[in-house]
Structure formats: structure tokens, C-alpha cells
Point group: D2
């Protein structure tokens, strides 16, 4: 036996070990993530889970079912021999937008489905979980595990949406129900806003490495950046109030033309969920109505509002490349879902760039477009990201309802510029001093 | 003591007796009607009861609550000493359209309310029932009993709406759920269509007598009628199919101009709930999808369709005065809610004028307007009928989901000419032969 | 020869004389009415005639062409041997709504037609006039003359619409152009409002006699009326201002439910064309902006506003039968088009019932429906009236822009309850004192 | 006197000479461009010039007036002593979107203005021209001349819009009027589609040099490009037909999600202005309906269609930086307005990259966003470009209705992705072979 052969045998065995380890890891993650989804829905009644408050949002029950549908459709149906769907009608009912998989129940009508009820959907989850467990019993090819891992991250996205959409639904109920009592910190002081210098030049942007990423984070590619500065923390409610008090919502010259039209048409006077209470502005939270915390980051603003605020502040929004370049080496810690705050919190007074991960998704000045050389994944999952690359802006960094294991420096979230129901906020940028 | 005095004493005592009897009767009716409402909702899940399928329809849960709100608002709050509402927010949440009672939750948003849940609403019903029972313990003035009786008939209207709105909701679910298995008669033959002569002249129209009626049925007044003829039964699905096959939905000359616009805009090709199945037309019913029964009355047609059909059939729709004049002396029997068919049935081959009560509401050619001398009831209940007297047409006779004790020859139902989700159908009329 | 035969010869000869006379009369009327139409357009530029301000209104040029199209389509094409249309494309372009005549250019797009230009349309009129003159050279059957007479009255309707639609167009121009300087009377005092008693009973309603009427005024038929009272004049701007100042536009309890929705959706605060000027309310007229004349009749109100005003005034609108019964024997004189005021004027202080003809069309409480026994005319002209018998209310009496020879006591005008651009106003009615 | 002083005197005198020369040049350009605008409108009637076919388009008369308003507002009013506007109301009436200049007549209502008429607007042009001539009589500071030059390029943009908007208006007229007979080339063969290699690396993008540019072309800045390939000519009608015949409009997987929604909602089946004629596809042109020339570039497609076509062709659209980098050194020649074709023409079979200028605006894959370091111009002209930097895509290269002196390699045109009424077409790109 030649040395190279021996070596390559060892190599193959190591690879096998890694594959086994990966499968075990994903299997554990699956159980954990699926349980976490259920935990999010636990405080909710069947009725809470059934309603849809607007076409952009979905019922919690739909999220619970659709995430199961994803595993059923992309894993069990094609890859588990003899698998039979619990209910064939779910194939259409819980398909979100995959046109290559056939008909879909129309999105704005997800709130018209009282049956299957929550109990049925929970049974569907159990059914899928059991079959996934069986599917995981044998050693699986990497390609299957890749799809499976996509399903895990897909479910985490819907965890965030469960809370985001539920918040919107509850906000439409005059009784303003409470999802959960939230602990409020003793009022913390506001960290001073400072500008952090970031160097320019040719930079590599996009995901590289061995872990998971979505197809829209690739390929890693070079961009040229001029030197720039980033604010050391997010913009606070207090700063946003100053903008409002300075006529921010009455001065069209601060706004993009489309943004001003949206402001007028929708009569925006403040961020979404803000209301004038007897003693000042209040906001609806997952713990019901609360007074505004001026030290906490402003949240639930559209791109248009973020952009107008930046213009008022004689600054601008960062591009996604600027943001990523600054965040690339930072630890992924912050006020994320596991912190269980469920609302953005004041910035701690430490670290060079604070709050890069968590609290609120940060609107960037970058339209959501394909990276140079972008290729969508093959098959129906290729519809996951690519077909939405128009009329949206990129947001970075995750929010207080994003699972920690879900976020990355290269992660590209995207929403239309008028969207406000997401946990979205503002970090400012400026050109470097010359 | 003079004879007249003695006599009038006896008279007063008789009146007291009648009052006691009336109160006992209404009290029994209350219990029965409230129980019947619950029975209608019994087969439904909390989710079935929470959803709203369109602005015109309301969630079952809302009907359950609003009928209780009616008693709370018009009886308990003003007339039961010390009454405290179960939840003060319900005053706004379950007010339908009474502007004199202050703010109302917007009708199109009734489906955004997950809390109070069905359990809460059932507790609300129990709370109201218990207090109504207490209120009924003492002898009450006639005026209070009048309002109370209005509440009973109001609840019966909502019994019909519970089934009507639920049918619409279920129809929007691709799984087409079944509310209840319905017995289908062995196919009965179709009764021959004959024209019944009705005489003209000056007629008294509107309610007279001592029982209950809505304010819009009064005052009784004189109208002049030319002699006319009425069809001896309702138009059947088979006859309506002939209209369709003769191009009924493709020939604008058969339609009112607004009707044709509605047909085009909403792409009507058949009555609501009809679908092309593999072996012909089917319709959605409270028992799910069923083949069309050609002998049964056509149902879920708009005024526009009824009018176009009549023109095609070289006939016309009756006026409400013609209908009432013919129905005035007829017994109020027919396929009504208690028959439990929950769908219109073929006409029995007996009686001069068949199917005048029950099966389907019959569109008349009369716009819904005030009778000469009409005065709405005083106070907020004056909004019950009068303010809707525009852009609607009168329907007569009740349907298969109308409680028998709720219908009268003078009863005026009303809906906009494009409405199709009600159990509405067609009886033809013609001028007398000259 | 028997006496009867001789007599009938004389009779036939008389009939011939009458026919000759009728044809001569209609021929003269044709020249006069066609010239009058042109006179109305004379002060206008080609651009004034080309624009369309809303789907309900048409360009003046379209009115000029469509009235010619009517004669071409119903008279020349079928009845003048060898007639060739000036331009075959006009058949579609200037068809208003006759579906039996084939395709129609869509109504909301009448303002997209720059060619044919005004010059072309005037040539079209000349072409049609010349051929009509030739057609009139021979003795014509009565049926043809009937259609021809319909064309004359049709053109008079469009004379009124030319001014009505132009007023709307000019009102949308910030420069508020002047159609013509109008003479304003020295301010006249306001006649006292008094109630005129009218008797009830069985009355004959609808046209009878030998002159012209539209098919919707027939057949003459009997109705039963309770005794009633009519106001002796129209409601004035001053009275309407009192309604406004008493919160008329802020009190939903005064309005029909649909009316209140319209008020809110369209933000009505006053009649159409009213604006707050530096020294009080002004209104746009065909002579530009003018101060409100409190003695003149209120104009450009919808049915909803008329109805709410009546409720506020503890009165009601008359039914069309009440109006006609009172007007039947009155002379057709008043502030009509020939008076050349082009705006409603204060009531003269004379006559039992003032202002029954002219000034403003009077909203009645009657929905526009078929009279008992109504039969639309045969052929495409049968679409003239009948297919609009839904969702509209009847107006009576003509306005300051109605030609005098066009109006009759039995004349039924009709518009949807939210329409305000017509010269429409208010006369009140009350039940007789009991 | 020292040498340097003498030298700098000469320098100042040279600068004066250049200033004089520039002013003379701009003065001549002004006369020429203003005359050219009038020449474009010369074949049109007053009515042609008054109508507005959709909110995105403006009447020709408005373009004639607004370009004069621009000179009046930015040059004459602030800079010509004693200037009095011809009509003060024009300040509002012909302001397009400059919120800093006060009220604006609403864009969708530009077609409601019959007065001022075309004659008045032409007089307005004369008035402005005369005063501009007087203003030019004295030597002017460079800043004023900069604004004046902006006015010239502004007018050229509206020259293009006059033809573009007029084409849309005429297309809505069923008679399909002819603006001008156009010469059609003898059918030319189709040049073979080849891929031209373009190198990557760090490139300078944006305007540099001494001539005119808009603010959105600056600052010149560096970008990093991967090597890429561009098609040597535009996509032809014939190639686009192949896409259509291959189900291009029926296969959602080829489209962006929003694009597919637009296709369905607007029922797109082909490019704008294409219609099925008796012997195949035809298109509406400024010379009326014409058969499709398969060798000519496809035109009047939206970004969505361009993008779907590219995906179908296994290619992509170029980014604007790729396009500019390739075009930077090319001569600005092509089928531009002065060629007088008024429609795109087949590519000549010569040159490395054909048709880069003229024929059709080329959709790029780049969202219209600010260049790094972008600063809008000071004052109200700062609204010219910056506030539209959202929801639009960049188009490059000019079209057959773009004046030759108006286009540049750095020129950034921009429209929303669903816009089709512009002369917009497709050039494909691909990544370099690896």
C-alpha cells in the first residue's frame, strides 16, 4: 500500500467522521429549533394563531404549518422512501411562493382557513417530526443535509415572523393584548453618539467558509469602498423624537419623493405602533402599550423614514458593503431572540461599534440585488431569494427577535422601502472627513 | 259603584293578566332563542367562529357577542339597577352601527379580534343571560318589554346570519368544510310552473295587529295595484341552467346596465357557490360540495341576476306590495330553519301559491324605501332600519335559514342589488292578461 | 257613397294635413335645436371642447358628435337611401351605451381623443344636418317622425349636459375660467317658506296626451296618495348655510348610512363648487367664482345631502308622484335655459307653488324604477331609459340649463344618490297635518 | 512688472475670452433648442397638445410651458432685474415637482387645463425667449450660466418626452393617428449576436471633465468590476418573438416575483404597442400601425420583461458600471433624434459594440441610487434628481428620440421597473468565461 493511499483512506475516514458529526449536529438542531418554534406559540390561543392582520403578515398557524411543509416537500416527499403526506391538500395550502411546485393558496387569504385548526397543525408538525427522525436514522449524502440545513434556517426565519406578525395582529385589537410581560431595565443612560472611522479600498464581501449561508450571500466578491464612518450605536427614540419635533414628518424636502407620497397616503406621523397617550408618546409592544424609552433604539420605521432621518441628521445610511466590512470580524452577540427582551434595548456603553447584531434590523442604502456572479440554487429552492431582487432594500444585523444562531455578518435581509412592521431601525453613516 | 267602573276594574285586571302572560311568554322565548343560537354554533371550533371572510360578513363569534351586547346596551345598562358590564370595552367592540351610542369597532376589522376568544364570548352570553333573568323577575312596563322583544327578533336575524356568513367563510376554504351532513330528499319531480291570478285595486299594506313588527313595516297604508299574476313556485336550478345555456351571462341586453357592469367586474358565470365539477355543475352547501338539484330553487343570486332572468323569461319580479297582498292571508309555513334542511328544497305539488315562506328570500322589484308616514323608533334603536333606506332592494318571505317565528307576510328584508351571499332567489310575476 | 265613407275621407285628409304640419314643425325644431347646440359651444376653444374632467362627464366635442351620431344611426343609416357615413369609425367612437349597436369607445376614455378635432366634428354636424334636410324632403311615416322627435329631445338633454359638464371641467382649472359673464339681479328678498296643502286619493300619474314623452313616463297609471304638503319654494343657500352651521356635515344621525360614508370618503363640507373665500363662502359658476347669494336656491347637492337637510328641517323629500300630482296643472314656466341666467335665482314672491319648473332639478324620495306595465321602446332605443332603473333617484322639474320645450310635469330625470355635478337642489315636503 | 504677473494677466484675459465664448455658445444653443422644441410640436393641433393619456405622461402643451417656466423660475425671476412674469398663476401651474418652490398643480390633472390654450402657451414661450435674450446681453457670472445650461438640457429631456408622451396618447385613440410618415429602410439583415469581452478591475465611473453633466453623474468614483462580456448589439424584435413563442409570458419561473405580478395584473402578452394584426404582430409607431420589423431592436419593454428575457436567454442585464466602462471611449453616434427615424433601427454590421448610443434606452441591472459622495445641487434644483433615488432602475445610452447633444457615456436615465412607455430595450451581458 502506498503512502498516498493510506493517507487518503485516513482522509476518507475523517470525512466520514465529519459527515456523521454534521448529521448528528443538524439532527440535534432540528429538535431544538422545532421545539423553540412551539415554545413561541405556546402562550397563544387557537384564535390568536388563526388570524391574519394584513396581506404581508401570516397567521401563526400558517407559519407552524409552512415550516413543516418545507421539510415535507423538500426532504420527506423526495427522499424518504414510502413517505405519505398527512394530508395531500397541505401541499397547496402551505406552499408560500414556489411556483415550480404548482398551485398555491393565495397569500392574502391565509386568514380564511379555520380548518385545519391549530390542533391539526400541531399534529402535522408531530407527523413531520417523526418522519424526519426516521429519515435521519441512516447516513445521508451531503446534498440532502444541505437542503435539511436550509430547512432549519428557514424555520428560524419564521420564528422571527411569528413574533413580528403576531405583534401586528395584536396591535389591531383595541384591547391591545399582551403576548408576554417583558422585563424593563432600569432606565439606562444614553451612550454618546460617536463616529467610528472605517478604512476603504478593495474589500471582499459575501459569505466564505464552510458553514451555512443563503444563496444570496454569494459569491464572495470584491467591491471598492471609499473610507467612511459609522455611528457607534443605533439611533434612539429620543433622537427620533427630536426629528419629529423639528417637523420631520411635515418637511417634504427631507424625504425621497416616493417616501413623501407614502407618508401622505398612509398619514404617518411617527413610527408604526406609536400612539399619543395622555402623558406623551407610547408604543405597542409584545407586552402591550408602554411609554417610549428615549434611550432605546427607534424601531418599526420604514426605509423612507430612516432615509429622511439620516438626511435631517446630515448623515446617510451605510451601504451594505460598508456595514459588512465593519461587522465582518465582530462577534455575533447582542440583543437577539435568546436574550428574551423581545424589544430593542439601550446600547451598552462599551465596544467600538455597538449594537451591530440584534436589537433592530438596520436599513442600508443598498437596493437588494444579485451579487456579481450570483446563481440561484437549483430546483424550486432557487426561488427562495433570487426572484425578490427588485424594489427592496437590504437590512443587516438581525433584531431582538432573530435567533442568535441564525445571524451572520454576511446575512442579507430585505424588505420594500415602505415596510414598517418588521423590527427595523437606523444606524447612520458618513463619508470620511477629507 | 257604577257598572262601568266595575267593568273597567275588571278591564285593568285583565290587562295586568295579559301583561304577566306576555312577560312570561317573552321570558320563555328568550331562553329558547338564546339556546338555539348556541346550538347553531355548537358544531364549530373556536377558529371557525373567529374568522371573517369579507367586510359584508361577520365572524360567528361576533354574532354571538353582538346579540348579547344588544340586550346589555338596550335593556340591562339602562334598566337593571346596579348592572355592571362584564367588560366595558365590549360596548365599542360589539356595537354594529349605532352611531348614537358612540364609537364602533370598524366592521371590516371584526376578523382581527382573537381576544376575547370564543370562551370569553360564551361567558359574556352567560353573564347577560343571568342578568336578563334577574331583570325579568319583577313586573316590567310594556315599553321595556317592547325593546326586549326587539332584542329577540334581532337575535333571530343573527341566527340566520351565523349560517349565511359561515357558509361564505367555509366556501373560501379550498377544503370546503362540512358544517353538517344534510339529508337530501329522493329527487322529487318539478312542479309545473303556473301563473296565479291576483286582483288589483286599493290595498292595505304594512303591519297591523298586536304582535311584533319592525318599524319599517309600518305604518299600514294604502297602495293601488293593477291586477297581476304570480308564479306558483320559485324558479328552479333547472330553469336557471336553461337561462345560462341560452347565454344569459353573455347577453348584456338582458341586464340592467349596473348589473352588467357587476357581472363583468366580478366575472359572474353562475350563481354564487356554483362550480364546474367533473360531471357538471356543483354547488357549495353547508354540507360541502353537492351536485345541483335541478328541481330545487335557484339560490345565491343577486338582484341583477334575478332581474336578468326575469327579462329572459319574458316576465318580471313582483313588487313588494304585490307579494304582500298575495301572501297576506297565507299560513307561515315552509322550508324554514326548524325544518333543518339548511338548503332550499323542491316545491311540493300542492297549494295555490307554493314556497311563499322559506326556501329562499325572494327579490322584489321594489327599492327599499320608507312607507308613507314612516317614523323610525325613538332613540338609538331608530337606527335599526331607517338609515339603510337607499341602494337596496326588498326581499320577502324568509329562507331555509330563517326561524319560523321570525317571518311575517309584512316582513321587509333588504340587501344591495349585487349581494349574493344571502339565501336569495327568484319568483316571477306578470301583468294580468288584458 | 255613404256618409261615413265621405266623412272618413275628410278624416284621412285631415290626418294627412296633421302629418304634414307635424313634419314641418319637427323640421323647424330640428334647425332651431341644432343651432342652439352650436350657440352653446360658440364661446369655447377647441381645447375647452376636447377635455373630460371625470368619467361621469363628457367632452363638449363628444356631445356635439354624439347627438349627430344619434340622427345618423337611428334615422339616416336605416332610413335614407344611399346614405354613407362621413366616417365609419364614428359609429363606435360616438356610441354612448347602446350595446345592441355593437362596440363602444369606453366612456372614461372620451377625453383621450384629440382627433377628430373640433373642426372635424363641426363638419360632421354639417354633414348630418344636410342629409337630415334631404331626408325630410319627402313625406315620412309617423314612426320615423317619432324616432326623429326622440332625437330632438335627446339633443336637448345633451345641451344641458354641455353646460353641466363644462362647468365641472372649468371648476378643475385653478384659473376658474369664465364661460360667460352672467347678470346678477339686484339682491332680492327671500320669500317666506310656507306649506301648501295637497290632497290625496287615487291619482293618475304618467304621461297622457299626444305630444312627446320618453318611454319611462309611461304608462299612465294609478297610485294612491295620502294628503301631503309641499314647500312653496326651493330651499335657499341661506337655509342650507344654517344647516351647515348647525353641524349638518358633522352629525351622522342626520344622514343615511351610505350617505354618511360618501360624505366621509369624499370629505364633503358644503355643496359642490362651494369654497371658503376671504369673506365667506363662494361658489364656482359659469361666470367664475361668485359670492353665495343666500336668497338663491341651493344647488349641486347630492340626494344624500338633500335627504339629510330634510331630516334636519323635520321634513322630508316629496315622492315623485306627490310632485307630479301637484305640478300637473301648472304652466311650464320658470328659470329655464332660455332665461339665460345659467344659475338658479331667488324665488319670485308670487304663485302658490313657486319654482316648480327651472332653477334646479328637485330630488325626490322615489327610486328610479319602472312604472307598472312599463315596456321599453323596441330596438336599440329601448336602451335609452330602462336599463338604468337601479341605484338612482328621480329628479323633477328641470333646471336653469334645461330648455323650456324639453320639460314636462311627467318628466323623470334620474341620477345616482351621490351625484352632485348636476344642477340639483331641494324642495321639502311634509305629511298633511292630522 | 514681474513675469508671473504679466502671465497671469494674460491668463485672466484668456478666462474672460472663454467666458465670452461660452456665453455666446449657450446663447446660440438656446435659440436652436427652443426652435427644435417648437418644430416637434408643429404637426400637432391644439387638441393634440392639450390631452393627457395617463398620470405618468403630460400634455405636449404642458411640456412647452414647463420648459419655459424653468427658465423663468431659475433664471429670469431671480436674475433679470425688473422681470415680471407673463402670468403669475403659471408659477404653480407649470411647476413639475419642486416642493421648495411652493404649490404645484397635481400631475394627474395636467390634462384638465384647457386654458391657457396652446396659443397662450406659445405666447409664453415668446415672452420668455425675449427676456432670456435680454438677460444674455450682458456678461454673466459662470454660476448663472451653469443654471442656464441646466435649463437647456432640461428642455432636451422634455423634447424626448413630447414624442414619448404623444405616442402614448395617440396609441389610445382607436383611429391610431399618424404624427409623421416615417421612412422605412429596405429590410436590412440581422447582424449576428456576438459577445464582446470587457476587462475588469478597479474602474473610474461618473462624469469628469469640463462640459455639462447632471448632479447624479457625480462624483466620479472607483468601482471594482469582474471581467464581463457585452452583446455586440441590441436584442431584436425577432429574438423577442422567439421568447414569446417559447412561452415567455406564461412561465413565472423566468420572472421576478413583482414582475410576474405586474404581468398578470396588466395582462401583458407582448411589448407595449404590439397588437395582433390579421397577418401577425404589428406595433403602433409615430407613423401609425406598422408590421413588426424582426431585425429592429425590441422597444417599449419594462425592466421586468428585459430581465425575464435575459434569464430566458441564459444571460443577464449589464450593470450600469459595466455599460459605462465599455462605452466610455466610444463616439456618441447612433440613431438619435437628429437621424429623424423616430423608431429604433436594425444594427449596422460594423463596430465592435453596436448601438450603444441611440435606438433604445438600455435597461441596466442597477437600481438608481446615489453615487458614493453624491451631493445634490444647492437650492430647488437639488430636487432635480436626488429625490427619485428609490424604486427605479438605470437606463443608459439614449434612444431614437434623444437629441444627440444631450447624451453622454455617463448619462443616467431612470424609470420604475414596470414602465413601458419609454423607448426602452435590451442589451444582454454575461460574466466572462472562466
Amino acid at each position: 500500500m502506498k503512502a498516498t493511499e493510506r493517507w487518503s483512506k485516513t482522509d476518507a475516514s475523517r470525512e466520514r467522521d465529519r459527515a456523521v458529526e454534521r448529521q448528528a449536529h443538524l439532527s440535534a438542531q432540528f429538535r431544538e429549533i422545532r421545539a423553540q418554534t412551539l415554545a413561541l406559540a405556546a402562550p397563544l390561543s387557537a384564535e390568536d394563531c388563526a388570524l391574519q392582520s394584513m396581506p404581508d403578515a401570516s397567521p401563526v398557524k400558517w407559519h407552524l404549518a409552512h415550516t413543516s411543509w418545507f421539510f415535507e416537500t423538500f426532504i420527506l416527499a423526495p427522499h424518504l422512501a414510502g413517505y405519505r403526506p398527512l394530508d395531500p391538500s397541505y401541499r397547496v395550502l402551505f406552499n408560500s411562493y414556489y411556483v415550480q411546485l404548482g398551485a398555491r393558496h393565495p397569500r392574502p387569504e391565509r386568514g380564511l382557513i379555520s380548518r385545519p385548526g391549530l390542533t391539526d397543525v400541531l399534529a402535522y408538525r408531530t407527523h413531520v417530526d417523526a418522519h424526519v427522525a426516521r429519515w435521519l436514522e441512516v447516513a445521508l449524502p451531503q446534498a440532502s443535509l444541505d437542503l435539511f440545513e436550509l430547512g432549519l434556517h428557514h424555520e428560524q426565519q419564521h420564528q422571527e415572523l411569528i413574533l413580528t406578525d403576531l405583534k401586528h395582529l395584536f396591535s389591531r385589537n383595541p384591547a391591545r393584548p399582551v403576548y408576554r410581560k417583558l422585563q424593563r431595565d432600569a432606565q439606562r443612560g444614553v451612550r454618546a453618539l460617536e463616529w467610528v472611522d472605517c478604512s476603504g479600498g478593495v474589500r471582499d464581501i459575501g459569505f466564505a467558509g464552510s458553514g451555512f449561508c443563503f444563496d444570496n450571500e454569494q459569491p464572495r466578491h470584491r467591491v471598492f469602498l471609499d473610507p467612511y464612518r459609522l455611528a457607534n450605536r443605533l439611533i434612539t427614540n429620543g433622537e427620533y423624537l427630536a426629528f419629529m419635533q423639528d417637523g420631520g414628518y411635515e418637511r417634504p424636502e427631507l424625504w425621497l419623493s416616493d417616501g413623501w407620497d407614502a407618508r401622505v397616503a398612509q398619514a404617518w406621523q411617527a413610527p408604526l405602533y406609536w400612539e399619543q397617550g395622555p402623558s406623551g408618546w407610547e408604543q405597542f409592544t409584545l407586552a402591550g402599550m408602554q411609554p417610549i424609552d428615549e434611550a432605546a433604539p427607534v424601531c418599526h420605521v420604514s426605509y423612507y423614514e430612516a432615509d429622511a432621518f439620516a438626511r435631517w441628521a446630515k448623515a446617510r445610511l451605510p451601504t451594505e458593503a460598508e456595514w459588512e466590512s465593519a461587522a465582518a470580524q465582530m462577534p455575533r452577540i447582542g440583543n437577539l431572540l435568546e436574550r428574551d427582551a423581545l424589544q430593542p434595548l439601550p446600547s451598552p456603553d462599551s465596544g467600538r461599534l455597538g449594537q451591530m447584531f440584534g436589537d433592530v434590523w438596520e436599513w442600508t442604502a443598498s437596493a437588494y440585488l444579485a451579487y456579481p456572479g450570483y446563481r440561484p440554487a437549483a430546483g424550486a429552492v432557487g426561488e427562495y431569494n433570487g426572484k425578490f431582487m427588485v424594489n427592496q432594500f437590504v437590512l443587516r444585523g438581525g433584531s431582538c427577535v432573530t435567533p442568535a444562531s441564525h445571524i451572520r455578518p454576511t446575512y442579507r435581509n430585505f424588505f420594500p422601502p415602505a415596510a414598517r412592521w418588521q423590527f427595523s431601525g437606523v444606524r447612520l453613516a458618513r463619508d470620511a472627513k477629507r
